[in-house]
Structures are given as structure tokens and as C-alpha cells.
Point group: C2
């Protein structure tokens, strides 16, 4: 892609209400545009990053045997009345009357709807376990939407639902999702800490939040930093291995300020291992047994001929929120550096362009074509502006690798730079193999 063709309306004027750095950066680099309070359009670069995050989430869901489907955004109020949440949910639920006067709503979550699908499809213990998930837009009518995509009204979320015969089996599903989440955040280049959590309005008796470290986060975090040394490769997808995995995580101290106990922290975690920082919630998992299956009659025939309510859990990841959270975790000293796995492009080619000399731009186009053949996704900055402005701009756009065609590149040696590191002179072959190995 040539930068001059890319629809990327960068701007220097950030509105005053953009108070946190991810909101500011996303507006400045043309990733999003607000259309109404708490509702955004995703412009091409922001969209591309969100899609890459979505794909990693999807792959890790599939690896634990979750099956993708898609529930609609508009739901009938009927099933919410069955579960008892229609009145409870309050004003955050966007309630709608259709032309026939039927009470509908824009789904803020899907426990009721997925239970309805399950109860009409699955009748026997033989068909369990099942994990279904979808990645769909949700709406929560926040009274004060703010912080850009971090606390908006229309947001993109992966939510999975597990169905099991009994508590023991259900905990196996829970552990699978726990593992899937840790793997997902790792692949996104984020340091995520699972924390035992309150279950809140979803209900149930077992719950974890996944919190990533970011100085600007909303929650205060206290943890044992050895939690990041747990090697995921030591586990496999077998039930026993995943049980051990969750136990290994549980042994490491981690708490938000609500649960924090200073004495316990000092006793359990050596000074040099103590982390005290802030964090952002990016995932939340719940086990709530028959909280929804019971009122909604999601019954299963057991092997000995009884009928029992199926045991359920739900598992959410905020996909659109993760775009903002990744910026909060990675944008420092005026330099944004996207993790390689979700960077909008693999590399940006930055030629120095002047009226009298088009050698650099020609060289850039040649390199661009060459990279394309190798399936390396490059952005070519063909905009006519000085190099100092270009570098400032690319510090914000945040593509982690740069090929710079200016005064330093001579003959067959080309200036190559990783953001936050010094540049080096390399042959194109070496650059290609570096980019491919990244």
C-alpha cells in the first residue's frame, strides 16, 4: 500500500475530551472517527489492527475446541424476562420497540440467547461438552462514554459459552478457556495477569479477570512478577495438564486494590519480585453453573435417565478494547510500537523525496515490489514531506520496522531500523530474512 492512497486522515487537532493516550493516538493517526457519543467508525488502519487481534483470538478459541457461530445484535426481550434479567439490567441496556410494538433490545451479552439455542438443540449428555463462541458487536448504553474505544457504547467482543454435565466437567472447560486466554494475550504481545475476581451481574461462584499492565490503567495491581516466567509450553491441552497450569498461576500472588492485603503481599512475595503498577481489564471469565439453564429450562438427559440443568460458563474478551489497551501498554515517550503480530504493516519504506532527485522513490518502489513477492506487507511512504516530519509521523503510526532510503543508505547497504533501537546498514536480503523471522 502506498501511503498517499491509504485512507488515513491523520490530524494534529485532538479534541479536549480525549484524555487518555490511546484515544488521542487513535484520533491523531486516523484509526477511528467518532460518529456519536461512544460510537465510532473504524477507519482502514484501525480496522486492520482490530481484525488481526480478532484473528488471533479466533485461532486460540478454535484450538481449545470452541466452535464459532454468530448470534444477532438485536434480541427479543422474552428470553431476558425468562432469566429475570430484563428488569435487573437497568438503563445500560438499549431497549427498542420495533414497528409492531414488540420489545426488543441490542444485546449487551448473550447468556440468554445462547441458552435458548442450546436448549432447542442439545438433549443428551452424549453431546457434551460443547463450547460455542461468537465475535459480535454489543451495545451498552453507558451514561458517560469516554476514553475512546476503552469505554464506548458499541463495542466488539468475543464471548464464549461452555455447556457441561456437572461441575467437574465444567471446570475442565473453564481451564481450557483460561489457558486459551493466557495464550491469546501472549500472542498479542501483552503481559496479562489472571486475577480471581468477583462475578458481578453475570453471577456464579468462580471468575477470573485478565488484566494487562499499563501505567495508565484504571485498576491498581499488586503481583509477583514471576507470574510472567510461567512457561506455557510446559502444558498441553489435556485436562490434567490444564488443571496444573491453572494451579501454577494461582500460586502466584496477584490482586487488584479491592482484594489487596499488604501484609499478605509482603509475606508471600520477595521485595525484588513485587510489581506495583496499574492495569486494564481485557478479559473476564465466569463459571455460574445453572444460573441461566435453570430458569430457561436448558435440560440434559443424564446417563441414568434423569434430567439436569446443564452447567454453563461464559468467557469474554474485549476485541475493540484491546486495540486501545495495546496502545496504553506500548505507547511511551511519543513512540508507539505495535507488537509484530498485530502491526498494521510488517514494515514501512521511507524514501527521502526531493524535486531534483527521484532515485530514492524509485529504489523504494523496487524494494516494495520485491517485498510483496515474498508476502511481506509493506507501506511505502510516498508523501512529499521532509524526513524529520516523516519520522515523527511514523513514531505515531507505529509500524515496528523501517527501511530508510536517505543519505545513509549507500550502494547495496540499506538503512534498517527497529523502533526504539538504532538503525543499521544491511543488504536487502538480510532485511528480508529479518522481517520473515520476526
Amino acid at each position: 500500500m502506498y501511503l498517499s492512497k491509504l485512507f488515513i486522515p491523520t490530524t494534529k487537532d485532538v479534541p479536549a475530551e480525549a484524555k487518555i493516550k490511546s484515544h488521542q493516538l487513535m484520533l491523531r493517526t486516523g484509526m477511528i472517527k467518532q460518529s456519536s457519543a461512544g460510537i465510532y467508525s473504524w477507519l482502514p488502519m484501525g480496522f486492520k489492527i482490530m481484525k488481526k487481534i480478532e484473528q488471533i483470538v479466533r485461532e486460540e478459541q478454535n484450538l481449545v475446541g470452541a466452535q464459532e457461530m454468530l448470534m444477532p445484535t438485536i434480541q427479543s426481550s422474552e428470553i431476558w424476562k425468562e432469566s429475570g434479567r430484563y428488569e435487573d439490567y437497568g438503563e445500560e441496556m438499549l431497549r427498542i420497540k420495533d414497528r409492531q410494538g414488540r420489545e426488543m433490545l441490542y444485546g449487551p451479552t448473550n447468556e440468554e440467547l445462547v441458552t435458548d439455542i442450546f436448549r432447542s438443540s442439545i438433549k443428551s449428555y452424549k453431546s457434551l461438552p460443547q463450547i460455542l463462541y461468537h465475535i459480535q458487536w454489543k451495545f451498552r448504553d453507558e451514561i458517560r462514554p469516554r476514553f475512546g474505544v476503552m469505554r464506548c457504547r458499541e463495542f466488539y467482543m468475543k464471548d464464549a459459552y461452555s455447556f457441561d454435565l456437572n461441575d467437574d466437567e465444567a471446570k475442565k472447560s473453564y481451564n481450557k478457556m483460561f489457558y486459551s486466554y493466557i495464550r491469546t494475550f501472549n500472542r498479542l504481545g501483552l503481559k496479562a495477569i489472571p486475577m480471581a475476581a468477583e462475578t458481578g451481574p453475570i453471577g456464579g461462584d468462580l471468575s477470573h479477570e485478565f488484566i494487562i499492565l499499563a501505567d495508565t490503567g484504571e485498576s491498581q495491581i499488586y503481583a509477583d512478577k514471576r507470574i510472567f516466567e510461567i512457561n506455557l509450553d510446559n502444558y498441553d491441552y489435556s485436562d490434567n495438564s490444564l488443571k496444573k497450569m491453572r494451579n501454577d498461576f494461582s500460586l502466584m500472588y496477584a490482586a487488584t486494590d479491592e482484594k489487596f492485603n499488604s501484609n499478605e503481599f509482603e509475606k508471600k512475595v520477595k521485595k525484588e519480585n513485587q510489581i506495583k503498577t496499574k492495569g486494564i481489564e481485557v478479559g473476564h471469565i465466569f463459571y455460574f453453573g445453572d444460573k441461566y439453564s435453570k430458569p430457561l429450562n436448558g435440560l440434559i438427559d443424564t446417563q441414568d435417565g434423569k434430567k439436569v440443568a446443564v452447567k454453563m460458563g461464559s468467557y469474554g474478551i474485549g476485541v475493540s478494547r484491546l486495540v486501545g489497551a495495546t496502545i496504553e501498554a506500548n505507547f511511551n515517550n511519543n513512540v508507539m510500537k505495535w507488537p509484530k503480530s498485530i502491526s498494521p504493516f510488517d514494515v514501512v519504506i521511507i524514501p527521502s523525496i526531493s524535486k531534483n532527485n527521484n532515485e530514492n522513490i524509485q529504489k523504494a518502489e523496487k524494494i516494495y515490489k520485491d517485498l510483496k513477492k515474498q508476502n511481506i506487507d509493506a507501506l511505502l511512504d510516498d508523501v512529499d514531506e521532509n524526513m524529520s516530519n516523516k519520522f515523527k509521523k511514523h513514531d505515531l503510526i507505529g509500524i515496528p520496522y523501517q527501511i530508510i532510503l536517505g543519505s545513509k543508505s549507500v550502494n547495496d547497504k540499506i538503512e534498517f531500523k527497529e523502533l526504539n533501537y538504532k538503525s543499521e546498514l544491511l543488504s536487502l536480503e538480510d532485511i528480508k530474512s529479518k522481517l520473515k523471522n520476526k
Copy 2:
């Protein structure tokens, strides 16, 4: 994927209101489940097919230089008041009041919102042309939703918007989309005819519908069958080539009953080339100049310092509708056969299973693993039922190729069948190379 693990609630009880064959089949094979009138959940197999269609649509949009982005589902009424369509649109628009009492709506289309994005981002002729598209859920509150996903209320649509300096340039964008559409439907295995059309509520003075042939379609079609002999490989993406392409299509007679003229048809089309059948609209493209940019102030600085309203077109493909339309076009004599490009699996392995003999299922598992290594996406039917029932079931599920492990498969020769053809005995190597070449 093992069939016993797949969430595919097949059913023999099809509700009476399912009147057309795609609606019936999608319910019978567990592709969708209705959640309220005209609103469906997409279960794993239906979802997978829709995603494959979406991906082909996306690839062909990208090939003509359209850039993907994503607008939200919920829009403010403000921009619709600016364009004058808020009152005009009538009861099909789902109108919503949020908790602050603001008038919102669930977008039935996006001309207003994309013009709003454009006007705040692009100011100069130098940044033109631009084509932006998104694939997003829409809502139209049909008074009588029916025919399953063919006329539902919440539906999935690709809509693109072009922005050009003047009519001549705009027609180049129009031709690009025209070509992209023909290519898209070809790749989906559908015979699509472009027809000059009325512009309806979108407005403008140039429009084509794309209609695929299906006996059960809603529109009567009269056409010259040589339209299917136009070879798309004879054109490239240059403006002149695409102009010729559109002209070549226009020379072929094609009309729906509204525009049909019997004398003209008989005069222009030889008897042996006449097609008289029914069809289903799957795409619609419009050129409407400054219909929206003028009231919404989407202005561009021209090269000679003037300001002109940008010239726009819009281009829709019904992605969820295409799932149903493909069934209408391909489900005949109780056999559904998915086009290879969008089949839910590349092949299904059907072993004959009996209590006393597990040789076939073991053989099936071995073949399954082997195919997986070659990236061939197989479904293994490990359900314990007789072969006759299995074949009936797979006639409906519609995977185009079958590997049958029953009495006919001996030693190294395996029974391989393409739906609607006779089976043959082949080595596994030959089967693999057949599947890879398909």
C-alpha cells in the same frame, strides 16, 4: 472436524412458514436458528459458509483498490435529517431512543455516515479517487419478514462507496465495481446477470442489479445466454478495458419483466440463445453524483481553486442473502451441492460403522489425519447410523466430495464420489490430488 462434535442440530421438522427451499434446507441442516421474526443466529456450518462468501467478496473488493473499514450499526438521526431521508425512510427504519433521549437508528444503509466521514477527512482533488467499503450488519424492519435469510430484518451486507471529482472519473469507479461484482459471483459459482435497473430510494441516474438464475427466484428474467460466454480474462483493471467490459455486457439483451419487451427480445436474441427463467437479486450498484454530498456539504477543492460537491456511488452485495440464494440456485432433486469455493468442508469421509467391525472407522481416522496434513479440510462422519441414512443426510449437507469406506473400498482402492456423479475407485494419492486441484 468429527461430525459427532460439530454443533449441527439437524432436524426433520421444518416449520410450516418455511416456504422456500433455502429456508427449509438451512433449518433442516442446522445452519441457522430463528431467534425472533426475521432475526437469525448463524450456527457453525451456516456461519462457516457465510464467512467464505464474505472473504471472496472482500478479496475482490480489495483487488479494485477499495479499502475496508467499518462503520457502526447504530447511527445518529442528525445526518439523516441533513440528507432529508430521516422522514422519507418510513417504518422500515428501526428508530431508537437512547437513555439520554437522543434519536438514534439502526443503519439500514450508510450513504449519510460515509459522507460524514469523507467530508471531515478529504478536502482536495489530489486525494481522489477513493473507494471505501465495509461488511456490516444492517437492519430493515420489514413488515413481513419471510423466506429465511432471503428477506430478513437483520442482515449482513457489503456496501462500498466511491468518491470522485467528476462524472467521468466516477464512471471509472462504477466500472471497477461492476467488474468486481461479476468476478465475485463467478468465484461463488453463480451465474449472475447485470441488468440496467431503476435507482429507487437510493436515487441517482445509473444503476445495475446483479441477478442470479434460480427457478425459485422472485423476478422473471429474459436474457441472451451468450452473456455467460463473456470471458472475464479478456479484461484488465485499466479504465479503458473496464469501459469495454461494461459495454460488452450492455450489448447482450437482459431484462426483468418490468422492462421486458417481447418484440425487442425476439428481434435481438436468436431462439436458441433465449433464456426465460427466474432470478434473485444479489447485488445492486448505483451512481448518484452529488445527491448526498450536496446536502451534507461533502466538498472538494478542485485544481483551479473551486469547491465542488464530490461525486458518489454506492455498491451493495447481500452477503447473508447470498447463502440462501446459492441454495436456491444449487439445491435440486433433493441434492444440495455447495460450490467448491464456499463449501463448508472440502470433503466428507463416510465410513460404514458396525458394532463388530471398527476397521472402517480406523481407516477413516487415518485418512482424516493424512488429509489434514495436506491442509484439506475434511469432515469425518463418525455418527453411528446406517449408510443409507448417512447418504441422505449428506445429500442435504452438500459437501461436494465424499470418501466412502464401505463394501466397495478394497485394499488400496477407495470409493470416491462427487455429488451428482457416479463414484469411482481411486488410490488415496489420486484422491488427494483431485481434491487439491479442485
